[in-house]
């Protein structure tokens, strides 16, 4: 697979030193149902990695295997070179922020946060100090003596975070922690979580189905589909150079152009351009923002592909709008343009061949 599973940004990685977390060929089936197939991934110190996928992709299962709540059917998980998957969850230096927070209702906020420290039998004053520090870090110091039932969802989420981080784990796992929050609070928390991670310096493994969220927060994104990794790369890389059709469509909007390559020329319906790719079928991803509307009177560069299209539909998105355009041969494309009041129905459009990124097919997996 032409995907990068090695960390692209690894500040502390010295050659010869094992990575913080190594997932090697992990597979998991529930009965006859395979949920994860042959997943291999490495996580570096201090990085923010997001495991992105639809529901059913296996992302939560993968997280639970790292945390220790599921055993992999085959494969290994290693932390700093040593087998992690042989230990029970309560012996791993890994902590989890659960999707519905899982705060203990019979304990106060303070007692919740200090739970792991009490279990480890640390001295009382140390516990008090670290708990206060953790609460201050998530800005919840005022609620120390409250009970979880009395605080809001967003506040509970911060406490869950504090409770995990106070134990100074090597790795923090976050299972869709923002999914229960409303949109504005969610955006706010995304920023806070990201800066928190930078501040604390611990590796975060974040699971979500929201691709926008993944792009905002991550150093790297691991896109999971039906139990296998489609691509692992930084947000910019994955956006501008998607490896597969699924990746191109899942992250952001795209147009998929299906065509034939013959003698160095790609032909897709009435569009054609030069490419240095071998003969045969081809699939290209062309982002809507890379199709430009041009004034027919001006000339075009030699190197662009031009064509005409009729606007079928206009969707207002605030600063931009998404136009559904149909070409003479029936090809339908999405075009993103700056919002404009009066648009002519008939447009002259162009794009650069470099923006038509070749992608692999994403086959159905049985």
């Amino acid at each position: 697979m032409a995907t990068t599973t090695e960390p692209a940004l690894d500040r502390s990685h010295k050659p010869g030193v094992p990575p913080l977390l190594a997932i090697r060929k992990v597979a998991k089936s529930f009965g006859k149902n395979p949920v994860l197939r042959d997943v291999s991934l490495q996580i570096a110190e201090g990085e923010f990695l997001t495991i992105l996928g639809e529901s059913g992709s296996g992302k939560t299962t993968l997280l639970r295997i790292i945390a220790g709540f599921e055993d992999a059917t085959s494969g290994e998980v290693l932390m700093e070179g040593e087998r992690l998957d042989l230990s029970p969850p309560y012996r791993r230096r890994v902590n989890t922020v659960f999707q519905h927070y899982a705060l203990f209702p019979h304990l106060t906020v303070e007692e919740n946060v200090g739970y792991g420290l009490r279990v480890a039998k640390l001295p009382k004053d140390e516990i008090a100090g670290r708990v206060a520090e953790a609460l201050a870090m998530v800005k919840m110091a005022a609620f120390a003596k409250s009970k979880p039932a009395k605080i809001s969802g967003g506040q509970q989420q911060r406490i869950a975070l504090a409770r995990a981080l106070v134990n100074r784990p090597r790795l923090l796992l976050l299972d869709e922690p923002l999914s229960a929050l409303d949109a504005n609070l969610r955006r706010q928390m995304q920023v806070e979580l990201k800066s928190l991670q930078r501040e604390v310096g611990i590796s975060f493994v974040f699971v979500t189905h929201d691709q926008e969220e993944a792009m905002v927060m991550s150093d790297r994104i691991a896109l999971l589909r039906m139990g296998e990794l489609e691509q692992v790369a930084s947000p910019r890389e994955i956006y501008s150079h998607p490896a597969t059709a699924y990746t191109a469509q899942f992250i952001g909007h795209t147009n998929l152009l299906r065509g034939e390559i013959k003698s160095g020329v790609a032909r897709c319906n009435l569009l054609s351009w030069r490419v240095g790719l071998p003969e045969g079928h081809a699939l290209f991803s062309l982002r809507p923002e890379n199709i430009r509307i041009v004034n027919p009177a001006e000339g075009s560069d030699a190197n662009v592909v031009t064509f005409r299209g009729k606007i079928q539909h206009q969707a207002f998105h605030g600063a931009t709008e998404l136009l559904q355009v149909v070409c003479a041969d029936g090809l339908a494309l999405s075009v993103r343009a700056a919002t404009r009041e009066n648009r002519l129905g008939d447009l002259q459009l162009e794009f650069s061949p470099a923006d038509a990124v070749p992608v692999r097919e994403s086959p159905e997996r049985g």
């Binding site: 945390a67 220790g68 709540f69 029970p88 969850p89 309560y90 012996r91 890994v94 902590n95 989890t96 659960f98 999707q99 519905h100 899982a102 705060l103 203990f104 209702p105 019979h106 739970y115 792991g116 279990v119 480890a120 009970k147 039932a149 409770r163 995990a164 134990n167």
Partner: protein
């Protein structure tokens, strides 16, 4: 949304019935406890505290009451000891068989009390199944006398009857505990045993209290088991009440004792309810 006529129509009949057949009888009970019985076996309707004084003066009543409470306490403890692990197994380990096992717990609950008490009688007697079995395998030479017609038999039978009563509320409480709390506890470093004591058990306390209350209160007022299996040393307070309404014709005294039992039960329920509220974290 519901008209006054509607609300009156649904409220009046049951309230009237309950008034007539529950409130009035209990009120009568109260009155009788302050009356007395004449030597010619008629009720004298003059108000007196004599019955209550007799309760405290004559030893046998208080003794029997304390013996009944001690029996009830033992039944409560054993029911909890037997019932909690069973409920825990059902909730956390039974998996696919949970439903079936749950039915197996409630079936004895509803099979005739009399039948089950009688069954123990046939098992524990000197010619009973247990004794003849022990002699058959040569573990004993003579029948064990203490098995039947003793407080032991009463405690055993009542534990048998009321253990399912303890299991059900504990099971319900355990089922209510979100499983992610158990995972969170382990994630934070607590072993399964620590998780049980710090998280699971505290959250199951309302169920434990409910089960304990049922077992205690229902055992306290039981009259059938002691009558069938208790013998002279196993008499409980309800048996005294029954005899006062039967052969030892003294309704006022019986009413006084009943009233005391009623007050005791009501205060235990109230007390238990307060504790349950304190331990429920909703």
């Amino acid at each position: 949304m519901f008209s006054r006529a509607y609300r009156a129509a649904v409220t009046l009949p049951p309230v009237l019935w309950v008034l007539l057949f529950l409130l009035v009888p209990y009120a009568l009970l109260l009155c009788y406890s302050f009356w007395s019985v004449s030597p010619s076996q008629t009720i004298i309707h003059s108000w007196t505290l004599e019955n209550y004084r007799e309760l405290f003066r004559v030893n046998v009543y208080l003794q029997t009451l304390f013996r009944s409470m001690w029996i009830a306490a033992r039944v409560m403890i054993f029911s909890l000891l037997l019932g909690y692990p069973l409920a825990y197994y059902l909730s956390f380990y039974a998996g696919a068989r949970k439903d079936l096992l749950y039915q197996l717990v409630i079936i004895p609950l509803w099979v005739s009390y009399l039948v089950r008490a009688y069954a123990w009688k046939t098992i524990l007697g000197s010619d009973g199944v247990l004794n003849t079995l022990l002699q058959y395998v040569h573990l004993t030479k003579h029948p064990l006398e203490f098995l039947l017609y003793s407080p032991f038999a009463v405690v055993l039978t009542l534990t048998h009857i009321y253990t399912p009563f303890a299991v059900l509320p504990i099971y319900a409480a355990l089922e209510h505990i979100p499983r992610n709390l158990v995972e969170a506890s382990q994630d934070l470093g607590a072993s399964p045993l620590q998780t049980f004591w710090r998280v699971i058990f505290p959250l199951s306390i309302p169920g434990v209290l409910a089960g304990a209350t049922f077992a205690f209160v229902l055992s306290l007022g039981d009259f059938l088991a002691p009558l069938l299996l208790g013998g002279p040393s196993g008499i409980m307070i309800s048996n005294i009440v029954v005899s006062l309404f039967g052969a030892a014709y003294n309704w006022p005294l019986g009413a006084a004792i009943s009233l005391c039992m009623l007050l005791l039960v009501v205060s235990l329920l109230f007390f238990s309810e307060q504790l349950e509220k304190k331990w429920s974290f909703r």
